[in-house]
């Protein structure tokens, strides 16, 4: 009659919260099961290395004060290491913030605690969320739980892997160009990037403020929806870019898509797409059709400009956002000759290669004489990319379906060229530029490695996005993981 914590961890957030609320399970035992699972898979030379900091005592202490009636009562979760929490470190996967503990909680952490959820660890990540593989963490790469020779994707690789490995049913990451959806696809879990402004960024250490979103991982669409409902909503007192909208109700019992028009943008199905990937997408599209959706060929003509625009805007904003890591108030400080020497020693020791590359790139594109040619032009093109989406919605399309990535997870160390790494975000980056919500849902496996399908919806229409995702997940059933 009473479920064991291990099995419930696998059943997901909804089952745990129900069991805790009804007194069938102690939240303490769930947390202990989560730590036991992490011990089993995360540590050691061949471990996943998906959790950077955790503390059983602090998690058990959190259990004491957690409201048992909350929507996520007793549900253990992982937060990406760039989301501020007063317990555990917030190091952003960087040497410059090694051991840093925030004196305040992010809005997301505060809401999760209020809902009864229990923080069990901070997820490994590419340093300051710059990367697509979690190989650029100052604390070593994470491994993909499905195949430990491969990357879990990134930059939120640790959070994605901790869900895929069964350490937690839900986790939270951040997205600037695909850093939740891409690792979700690589790890075979659900990953959500909401509309810009839907989830407060207060406490998310900024990479590129106009593109950053906190995102959600769940093993199922329903768990992701529950987690989204808890962390969404107006936070105007802390984040001026937070939308003045209450958290939407995302869960639905409907698995039917009658009357729903789903666009299939040709730019996301290029001739170069592998037959295996194409076949999985077609199977998913058939599943959507089977549930009653109408599939329509559409075009987003400026898609090929998204990546270049992204790699101007994101580094530009990052160059300013990371200026605060100067050795003056917190984090690493290296002594040097005078003030300038201290700055140089601190920052060149504290930041890794990829972060340094982007700061330099961003500084360059904002420099006098280059601003108009790069940053201003990039903003103009960004507006065109956003218009592609509004044009498609205006034509009567409710959402889009695309592959999340062009290929499954690659082998650790396989990509050394930065530009090749940037191409990982090809299908995901437009949603960040256009501020629209997007989700990656598992749609199958290629050679045993998970791949994801992406549903993109109009701004603030997460309900439509989830409705389609529920139906897709339901229709594919076990096929989503084969």
């Amino acid at each position: 009659m009473s479920a064991t914590p291990e099995s419930v961890l696998h059943d997901g957030a909804a089952a745990i919260a129900a069991a805790v609320r009804e007194g069938r399970m102690s939240p303490r035992s769930v947390v202990e099961a989560s730590f036991a699972r992490a011990e089993e898979v995360d540590a050691g030379p061949n471990g996943l290395n998906c959790i950077l900091s955790s503390d059983l005592n602090s998690s058990l202490h959190a259990v004491e004060s957690a409201p048992v009636g909350g929507a996520l009562a007793g549900v253990p979760f992982v937060l990406k290491d760039n989301i501020a929490t007063t317990t555990l470190n917030t190091s952003c996967g960087s040497k410059i913030l090694e051991g840093y503990v925030s004196p305040y909680d992010s809005t997301v952490a505060r809401k999760l605690r209020a809902a009864g959820a229990i923080l069990v660890g901070k997820g490994n990540m590419d340093e300051f969320a710059m990367g697509s593989s979690t190989e650029f963490s100052a604390f070593g790469p994470s491994r993909n739980p499905i195949d430990r020779t491969r990357v879990p994707g990134g930059s939120s690789g640790g959070s994605a892997a901790s869900v895929a490995a069964g350490i937690v049913p839900i986790a939270f990451g951040s997205e600037t160009g695909g850093s939740v959806r891409q690792p979700a696809a690589f790890c075979g879990v659900v990953g959500v990037k909401p509309t810009y402004g839907r989830i407060s960024r207060f406490g998310l250490v900024a990479f590129a403020s106009s593109l950053d979103n906190i995102g959600v991982f769940g093993r199922t669409v329903d768990d992701a929806a529950r987690a989204m409902e808890v962390v969404s909503g107006d936070d105007a007192l802390h984040d001026a870019t937070s939308a003045r909208l209450a958290a939407p109700e995302l869960r639905t019992d409907s698995r039917d898509l009658a009357g729903v028009v789903i666009g299939k943008p040709k730019e996301y199905f290029p001739a170069s797409l592998t037959p295996a990937m194409r076949a999985h997408c077609e199977r998913a599209i058939d599943a959507l059709r089977a549930r009653g959706a109408e599939i329509r060929d559409v075009s987003l003509p400026h898609t090929d400009l998204a990546l270049p625009v992204y790699y101007i805007i994101a580094p530009a904003e990052c160059s300013a956002n990371l200026a605060r890591f100067d050795g003056v108030r917190y984090g690493l400080r290296m002594e040097g000759e005078g003030l300038r020497g201290m700055y140089e020693a601190t920052r060149s020791t504290g930041f890794g290669t990829e972060v340094t590359r982007r700061i330099l790139l961003g500084t360059y594109v904002l420099s006098a004489g280059y601003y108009d040619a790069y940053y201003r032009k990039a903003q103009d093109v960004r507006a065109l990319i956003a218009k592609d989406f509004t044009d498609v919605w205006a034509s009567g399309v409710h959402a889009l379906f695309t592959p999340t990535t062009a290929a499954p997870a690659f082998t650790i160390g396989a990509i050394s060229d930065p530009y090749e790494m940037y191409l990982c975000d090809l299908f995901t980056v437009s949603a960040n530029l256009a501020e629209v919500p997007a989700i990656s849902v598992p749609i199958g496996r290629i050679d045993g490695l998970p791949v994801g399908g992406q549903v993109i919806a109009p701004k603030f229409d997460e309900r439509m996005m989830f409705r389609i995702s529920y139906a897709l997940e339901s229709e594919l059933g076990q096929a989503a993981h084969t």
Binding site: L97, A323, L366
Partner: protein, 475 residues
Amino acid sequence: MSAAYEMIVGLEVHVQLKTRTKAFCRCSTSFGDPPNTNTCPVCLALPGALPVLNERAVELAARAALALGLEVHERSIFARKNYFYPDLPKGYQISQFDRPLAERGALAIGGGRSIGITRIHMEEDAGKSVHDRFPGFTAIDLNRAGVPLIEIVSEPEIRSSAEAGAYLRALKEILSYAEVSDVSMEEGSLRVDANVSARPVGETALRTRTEIKNLNSFSNVERALELEFARHVSVHESGGTIVQQTMLFDAHKNEVRGARSKEGSHDYRYFPEPDLPPLVLTSEWIQGVRYGLPEFPAARRARYAASYAMGETDAEVLTSSRALGDYFEKVASAAGDPKLAANWVMGEVSAALNESETEIGAFAVPPAALGELIALVKNGALSNTAAKTVFATMLKEGGTARLIAERDGLLQVGDDSALVAWIDEVWAEHPDEAARFAGGERKLQGVLVGFVMKKSKGRADPKKVNQLLGARAGT
């Protein structure tokens, strides 16, 4: 030699807005608190903290802009101004760049001259670097970091150090009237940077300018401008070239010298602040702020001249602060005599304020009470001397003029029978003077009036006493 050159000056004035809390967080702006006590994750630039705009700061900035006749834009944009300095926690200052809050205004500085104002933009203050507290170290106090400022940029239309002084005094007066700032140079709520160049009279192009910083009083602005202008002229005269750079004024040595830092070569890499949406103000909101503006000194002086027939000098004194003008107007209306009211406010009230070192806003005698006192003088119930005694009592104890005058027996006596009785007594006590006066020695009238006043302890109405005495002389 320098007569052949004219001075070209443009001023950049930073004004701290009078808000309770900072521009982008809810920390206190109070001055002089222990270092780093008014700080939070936002103004310390802790990882993950975000700015949220203080609406009161926007309102005060708009008030200032409208008071100076600028057009307030319905859409303006915050920008990041990037530079590294230990007292700049984020590594950038949130400011406004190519889309400022307001543009195009002007400020009358007297003598028919008006100086154009290019723009007003909002920004946040940096913290304070303290270099002399700990040997070998610089200490950082971030209490001031994030305090809301406006920067008011003038056109290069100021032509002398005296005009610069007049501009600053007029600016200070208006900002103080509009209640947007304490405008105190001592507390740093008003700071001035001066751009100066020199050119031969008749030349139309502007020559290379230098910027003088570290100006901590209006008179220092004037001194520094004279010094720097003279330096420019001598460089031009000797065939040299002025290098565009930042200069520092040293008040003790009375010299202007080049700053060590290469301030002028900074590339601030401005770009729109992505953490703050564009600042959108409706025309109704702007109109509302405009309606809320007070009457400004120039308009007030004109009104005093027109409706009180007041001279220029008196009007200037009475409008020197908004509160003093307000006080005066209430006194005038209660007294029913603006002229008397003006004399009292500029005389007794000013003296009392000086003596007690208080501001008019905290003055012990409310304007209505003073008005009543003046009315008593005006209708002859109190002599001037008695009124001053009553005023002194009101200052000390409060209370109303009539009750104090009655209690202390200071009301004038104009009743004939009482006056005649006093005169009769004087006649009896000073028969010699009385006889000579009655005999036609009219110059004795003053002496006799004095006797009567003394006998009445100042309460006799001198006018009536004179009349009654005159009547006796005639007999």
